[in-house]
Symmetry: C2
Subunit: 193 residues, 2 copies
DNA sequence: TTGTAAATAGATTGATTGGTCTAATTGAAG
DNA sequence: CTTCAATTAGACCAATCAATCTATTTACAA
């Protein structure tokens, strides 16, 4: 192919800008400049900004779940340790970049929830993907006895994801690593059988 | 006084609009219309939109912590049950209004984090107020043995607040009450000594 | 090479944004 | 009542927004 600027490049640029600066605070001009394409190309690829936003959410969702699945495939660790290891990798990544990144789904869902059905739906769908990936691992751990069965798999998964998302929120509001550490400590406690 | 439109009325209107539709997605015109004041009055009260935003955050912070403190003052319940009762009241409120509200601090911090120092600072300060209020109660419970001491008070508080914030995020992204219930179940488990 | 449709460039559009400005109104002090 | 500053009203402004439009280039089929 050897295409200079593919659609994926634009989605990647949008993903980074939306994660850093939010959806409504990122203008199309900024996206065009960052992706190095022209306005004509953008509107050839995407119907409008919302259509672009929805595709960015899916791009982020696939990109994230692929990485999560890869990390959770490592059978040398038991399911509980696999989850703890995954979040350790994630936390290290946030720390490495000085906590400037947030979770796109978290930010976007807060920004457009209840006012933009199409984007809200995309957030919801991708959150569900996250849940399925984590739940798979938690179910395996509950079956082999390495993860607590005090709550059913789905509830425990949602509680865990909620605590992680919330820790990212506190992190981004200037508290740095402290909420991430509190999350990791509590995660150990709540997964232990 | 008998003032028709006080500054607090504008702050309240802004708080509701920002919670519902986000900061960047709420124009000043919408605020003026909702508060029933003129542009001149608005810019007489506030230096600019950011100054208004910061004051709205403080207004929301005080309004919330006052309510939280009131609920946690009820000494007929032990500290653990007081916390569980508080979140039960909150969850009932969200349910009553069909999950349309989010937490202003959560939404705002995601929207302006890392790009608007003044507003980010206001988010951080008010989150800290939340933490202090909850931590007081958790410390009391750890001392009288009704709350787990597996984690120190501040870490446990942050983990709890993170899980609550994250549950609100998932709630607003269209999952309705399920994440709130998962949060409440997990809360019981993590507070129990 | 030619024909044709897709992709690209970027000027331009109308609507909306946050913010300013002047004039009118208000309210309290003297 | 008069005075004068504070408040309010709302027209207005430049900047920016998402989106459209036409001209041009590119890519590929015949």
């Amino acid at each position: 192919m050897n295409v200079k600027h593919s659609k994926d490049d634009v989605l990647k640029a949008g993903m980074e800008l939306f994660r850093l600066n939010g959806y409504h605070n990122t203008g199309t001009n900024e996206i065009l400049k960052s992706a190095g394409i022209s306005r004509g190309s953008f509107y050839n690829f995407f119907k409008d900004k919302d259509d672009f936003g929805a595709q960015v959410l899916d791009y982020y969702g696939v990109w994230s779940t692929d990485y999560m699945k890869e990390l959770l495939r490592d059978k040398r660790l038991n399911p509980r340790k696999r989850l703890i290891h995954l979040f350790d990798i994630f936390v290290q990544g946030y720390k490495r970049d000085n906590f400037k990144w947030g979770c796109l789904l978290v930010g976007m869902s807060q920004e457009v929830g209840q006012i933009n059905p199409k984007l809200t739906e995309a957030c919801s769908t991708n959150f569900e993907s996250f849940i399925y990936v984590f739940q798979d691992c938690i179910e395996e751990g509950q079956q082999d006895g390495t993860i607590s069965t005090a709550q059913d798999a789905r509830s425990l998964t949602i509680a865990m994801l909620a605590m992680y998302n919330g820790a990212l929120v506190l992190m981004k509001s200037g508290m740095h690593e402290e909420p991430l550490i509190a999350f990791q400590n509590q995660l150990e406690l709540m997964l232990k059988p």
